[in-house]
Symmetry: C2
Subunit: 318 residues, 2 copies
């Protein structure tokens, strides 16, 4: 493995697992994780960044492994009191989690950038990796569904992904600026690999790709761009990815995910269970155990991804 | 006791004790409590109303009797998490308490009035008394001290009342509108009594009196206006009242409190321990046990105050 930097693109839970694995197998300071902020929203007057927080909590070892979101050792006194006051309780905010939202909102209101606030939080929480929001500008994922247009969290949490998805848009993406540190990392000659984590391509990765210049920078990038499928054996590991793919008229398969990224993808990590699909991939691939149940699984997959990147770099050189 | 309404003016803890006593001895719907909002402030982006909340929690039976502020059965996960993020922790916000601040702030931001929000919270918490903020407009108590001008909570909580007080101002009071429901209650012909609770006259009651029209309405009011001293035996029951009086060059005595209200006061409730001071009062008075340790004490003082009001009304008629 070279000493170059690794850049991971990630949504929430599935992506965060691999990001944690990468952060543990890479030396400190070598990993940058770019987080989707398309599912950020304002709720109860607070600025909430679910994917950024899941990544932050996971990288800090503060995540709740049972829920897949929020913090471990959480208390729920706020929600109970809010309920007694008639407040909105469909989006669960733990007491400790709330500190992130309140303090971030306060700092955003006095003009600080989300990137700087996130960096400060990560430093205080002892996170060695660099965590970047995909943009400091507002991008909002919206879904046209069988029930009309829904804001992302309305669809995802309030309606529990029940409505049928017909179209997805990333409001604000076209005029947003991709995080300059993200674009700089992509242009860095010593970049070792770009890893698209096993996150939902349509709602977790596409918002990042929708930012001006990102797809072109990925295509131009000298380091191999790799992706890991969140679909194994035709099913999503977690969340609505498979249901959404079917509703969008796509074949629910890892191959569909690889094709989704084909403009800039150099290699694909296919789950061992999906080995029979390999002939359908028209790009370099490797097989790996992509279902990450244990911390060891996360590290093993991270190592496999980095080794695959090495192979691709050698091929390119050779 | 007549069937008229009773209006109480109150700050936080001391006043809230008597307000609770009144709420328990009066039939439902007969008590209106006007709360000081001069010590309200914005903190962490939240609108916080300490006296209003102490009254609300006390009247709802949700108060923390040990602390004298905040809620019982409170948890502190938010503060611990905020501390780990480098947030300001000098003002303690419990997890349940936070729900009031977050939801109130949200509703204020969408244009609701503090009076309406408070009424809705009280209804949901099962409070029978009517609780009114003194005004829906912003009034802020500021103190000129040995360390310069300080915002109220900076002085009271952050500096723990240590700086010497030289002057007190209620910024915004002159242009604020007293709560119309408060002025209407004062003008109500069937008003039975106005009770100035044993709160700090200078920082808890004076902000209410500084609102345009309030002193004149109290002077014109047909019901007797009574006050209970927060000073017993030359000492404050709780808080900085005595220290502040001394710093302002006043004699630390219940008589000073009675004189402070002399423009509109019809009767004074003197603690039994202060009986020797009675000759110094140039107004009707009664003796009572004003130190409220138990719930029974609160009810007994409330009954004593209402009976005293009856006597004064009969005198006025006779």
């Amino acid at each position: 493995m070279s000493d170059g930097a690794v850049l991971a693109l990630s949504g929430g839970i599935g992506g965060a697992k691999l990001a944690l694995g990468l952060s543990r197998v890479l030396p400190s300071g070598r990993l940058t994780v770019v987080a989707n902020t398309g599912d950020d929203f304002e709720h109860l007057g607070l600025s909430i960044s679910p994917d950024l927080d899941t990544l932050m909590y996971t990288l800090a070892g503060l995540d709740n492994p049972e829920a897949g979101w929020g913090r471990r050792n959480e208390t729920w006194t706020f929600m109970a009191a809010l309920d007694s006051l008639g407040g909105e309780t469909w989006f669960k905010l733990g007491d400790g989690d709330l500190a992130v939202h309140v303090e971030r909102t306060r700092r955003l209101r006095v003009g600080e950038r989300l990137t700087a606030i996130t960096a400060d939080f990560c430093r205080r929480l002892g996170i060695g990796a660099r965590l970047l929001p995909m943009s400091d500008d507002r991008v909002r994922t919206r879904l046209r569904t069988s029930e009309g247009w829904l804001e992302f969290q309305e669809y995802f949490v309030r309606r529990r992904c029940a409505p049928e998805v017909r179209e997805i848009e990333f409001a604000g993406a076209a005029s947003a600026e991709a995080n300059p540190a993200f674009l700089a990392a992509l242009a860095e000659p010593r970049l070792h690999a770009v890893v698209i984590c096993p996150s939902n391509p349509f709602i977790s990765v596409d918002p990042i790709l929708a930012l001006p210049g990102v797809k072109a920078a990925l295509a131009k990038c000298r380091a191999p761009v790799l992706a890991i499928s969140p679909i194994i054996g035709g099913r999503a590991v977690k969340g609505p990815t498979a249901k959404m793919m079917a509703e969008l008229g796509l074949t629910v398969s890892a191959v569909t995910v690889a094709r989704h990224y084909r403009e800039f993808l150099d290699g694909f990590i296919l789950d061992v269970a999906d080995a029979p699909l390999a002939p359908g991939l028209d790009m370099p691939f490797t097989l790996a155990k992509t279902l990450m149940r244990t911390l060891g699984d996360r590290e093993e997959l991270a190592r496999g991804v980095l080794e695959f990147a090495d192979t691709l770099r050698e091929k390119a050189r050779g």
